[in-house]
């Protein structure tokens, strides 16, 4: 029963949805919205031409570089701010002021600074994921139970030992959640930035399909690819939640 619920039901639901989509297109005889078969044929054509793989590769490269740079700088920055409450108090107003600004609002500046190149979307992805990671890590450190820190000091751990053996494992579950959420944001920003700043990638595929030839089969195909790849990457990050040393931070 468990396996049925976890695998068969989602597949069944998706199948029903595709069937409804198909019949809706057939019954309304719409000229602007493609049927599932149209979309599938469109994607196959792109794959045969090779553009599909190069677009996916470009998108993954941009999101990979921008996101990994944000993780490598945001995690230590957040840990550091969480560890120094005075510093956090000083920087927090600025951080909270920058946070509600959509990363896409930086687009004009990104294009002036980096031109139409990979650097512009990478910069926007970095911006989009950096602040959420910093804020989550900072909060995670500040919320480490006092009892853990007191026990660590009692056993005579030095500050570096305490950070490695207590702070780091204590914030790990929240870090995984934060990295997952930040990746979701990065993926959304990637597509939007590729519509403006570059001439390849999945976001570009959508905007180009519309501009160049009203190819709505490729527009919808691009959307589905973004959704499916995003889902796989999210599942990959989530698999970290099953590590034995972080299971305590998640519900069974």
């Amino acid at each position: 029963m468990r396996n049925v619920e976890r695998l068969v039901l989602p597949v069944l639901f998706a199948g029903v949805l595709v069937a409804m989509w198909h019949f809706a297109v057939v019954l309304t005889a719409t000229a602007v919205f493609p049927s599932p078969a149209d979309v599938f044929r469109g994607i196959v054509t792109l794959a045969e031409r090779g553009t599909l793989w190069s677009y996916i590769g470009d998108s993954l490269l941009r999101v990979g570089v921008g996101y990994i740079a944000a993780v490598l700088s945001g995690v230590p920055a957040g840990l550091w701010l969480g560890w120094h409450p005075g510093l956090a108090r000083a920087l927090n107003p600025v951080i909270q002021m920058l946070r509600p600004i959509s990363p896409l609002a930086w687009m004009p500046l990104a294009i002036i600074w980096f031109g139409v190149s990979n650097a512009a979307p990478i910069f926007l992805i970095f911006l989009a994921s950096f602040l959420p990671i910093v804020v989550s890590m900072m909060n995670a450190v500040q919320n480490v139970p006092q009892a853990y820190l007191q026990a660590a000091r009692n056993f005579g751990l030095s500050t570096p030992q305490m950070i490695r053996r207590v702070i780091f494992p204590a914030v790990l579950p929240r870090a995984i959640v934060a990295l997952r959420i930040a990746f979701g944001i990065a993926w959304i920003v990637l597509v939007a930035s590729e519509m403006i700043a570059v001439d390849s990638g999945l976001g570009y595929l959508i905007i180009d399909a519309r501009n160049a030839g009203m190819r709505y089969d490729l527009v919808v195909g691009g959307m589905l690819l973004i959704g499916v790849i995003g889902l796989f990457l999210d599942v990959a990050i989530r698999s970290a939640e099953r590590l034995p040393s972080v299971r305590w931070g998640f519900r069974e």
Binding site: Q150, N154, P169, P244, S245, W248
Partner: protein, 244 residues
């Protein structure tokens, strides 16, 4: 004297929490500090443990002034102090980073057994009951071989049956290991069941009202008239009639 608390007073800002505490504890003695909530008994334990420097006065252990936390004196919380990302044996071994690997393994094995967690070495705390987590925390403390254990309402979060079992366990472990124990509780029955001496504290600002010697051998009979008389005298001291 193992622990000497002399002329300790403490304030948080303008609030006076402890007033002129004098208490000495001998090596191997089990002293229970009991008092109404907010009387400063936990603060006193934090001062003795070196976590809070007192506003005035001094704590000495073996004649040496306490200036900070020290692995020779371990503080045990309610079971929330165990590290949820470590297994039972990793938790017990947490403080054992200055000993050889062989010694570390020996001590982990010894304390797993002493606190009755055999078979759970590889379990994580989330797989344990509240009482097991509490025993795990005691084992982690004992593993570094401290001379003094500070227990701050260690059984407060447990149900009443588990709490009774844990008191018996604690007495068994104490008799096996002969540590000096300072135990804080608001439970008067608990204090009389466990202690060599009970320190009764007043409302805030906490002062020592009285120190009672419980001259009854373990195991103590809880219906013994002597037990009941001692317990009632503490109720009277705190100003509570023991009627519900």
């Amino acid at each position: 004297m193992k622990v000497e608390i002399s002329a300790v007073s403490h304030s948080f800002g303008a609030m006076r929490v402890l007033e002129d505490i004098e208490l000495t504890v001998s090596a191997g003695e089990l002293v229970v500090i009991v008092g109404p909530s907010g009387c400063g008994k936990s603060t006193l334990l934090n001062i003795a443990g070196g976590f809070t420097p007192p506003s005035r006065g001094q704590v000495r252990i073996d004649g040496e002034p306490v200036v900070g936390p020290d692995p020779r004196r371990i503080f045990v919380f309610q079971e929330r102090g165990v590290f949820p990302w470590l297994t039972v044996e990793q938790n017990i071994g947490f403080g054992l980073f200055r000993v050889t690997e062989e010694e570390r393994r020996r001590r982990i094995a010894h304390y797993v057994q002493l606190v009755g967690l055999s078979g759970f070495e590889r379990s994580f705390p989330r797989e344990l009951s509240g009482g097991m987590k509490q025993r795990l925390e005691v084992a982690r403390a004992l593993a570094v071989n401290p001379d003094v254990l500070y227990l701050d309402e260690p059984f407060g979060a447990l149900d009443s049956i588990t709490r009774l079992q844990m008191r018996r366990e604690l007495l068994r472990i104490w008799q096996a290991e002969r540590k000096t124990i300072l135990f804080v509780t608001h439970d008067i029955d608990e204090s009389v069941q466990l202690a060599d001496r009970v320190v009764v504290m007043s409302q805030r600002p906490g002062r020592i009202r009285r120190i009672l010697t419980i001259d009854m051998p373990h195991p103590r009979d809880l219906s013994d008239p002597r037990y009941i008389a001692l317990r009632d005298s503490i109720f009277a001291e705190i100003g509570l009639a023991h009627h519900v």
